[in-house]
């Protein structure tokens, strides 16, 4: 498995501002993903972060709202832009290891509260 860290672990932000969340992996991985986990709801995939190209977004998520960077095989960022209270959630980074069998390993998450 991979060891994944996320920064910040939590934050409280004002409406209209933006927050960038970092995800660092201790080994090179091909596949990195960003999820949202809202209270009482299942995990929702926001996008797949592709190294060297634009992220692939799921239905309902757009690049202007959730820009993603993937500069190398061990690091990615997710920005939550122009935040509103509805963006309050836990944001999770996950990876699929190159030698794995499609299981994903998750970071500890970032708990975001928007006032």
């Amino acid at each position: 498995s991979a060891v994944i860290s996320q920064k910040p672990s939590r934050d409280i932000c004002q409406r209209g501002t933006s927050l960038t969340i970092q995800c660092q992996v201790d080994s090179q991985v091909t596949m990195m993903f960003w999820y949202r986990q809202q209270p009482g709801q299942s995990l929702t995939l926001i996008a797949t972060a592709n190294q060297g190209s634009e992220a692939t977004y799921e239905s309902g998520f757009v690049i202007d709202k959730f820009p993603i960077s993937r500069p190398n095989l061990t690091f990615s960022t997710l920005t939550v832009s122009n935040m509103s209270p509805e963006d309050s959630s836990i944001y999770l980074c996950s990876v699929e290891t190159p030698l794995g069998l499609r299981e994903q390993f998750f970071g500890p998450g970032t708990r975001l509260t928007v006032l």
Binding site: Q41, S42, L45, L92, S94, R102, Q104, G107, P108, G109
Partner: protein, 113 residues
């Protein structure tokens, strides 16, 4: 439409009282079914992957089984430290190179000492 349903939503057991959690799925061809454990304030922790009906996997007090329609997570003689939310997810075979997982809402398990 691909879907995952977990039951019960919540379960409270006495220490040592064995039980099972259910994950029912409908998917257009199953590539894999995944079980995770999630503690409050933490990311999901990978437990098992199952690929085909009849497959079983074990880890300590947990055993996961798979049929063509559902998976069970059996917990034998649970301890208070087994208290967590258990999540189930599936990946469809026709997803191609898409790694998207379809997630259930989870079962919140509490084990009383």
């Amino acid at each position: 439409e691909d879907q995952v349903t977990q039951s019960p939503e919540a379960l409270r057991l006495q220490e040592g009282e064995s039980s099972s959690l259910n994950c029912s799925y409908t998917v257009s061809g199953l590539r894999g079914l995944f079980w995770y454990r999630q503690d409050p304030g933490k990311g999901p922790e990978f437990l098992f992957t199952l690929y085909s009906a009849g497959e079983e996997k074990e880890k300590e007090r947990l055993k996961a089984t798979l049929t063509k329609k559902e998976s069970f997570l059996h917990i034998t003689a649970p301890k208070p430290e087994d208290s967590a939310t258990y999540l189930c997810a599936v990946q469809a075979r026709d997803a191609g190179n898409n790694r998207k997982l379809i997630w259930g809402l989870g079962t919140s398990l509490g084990v009383n000492p």
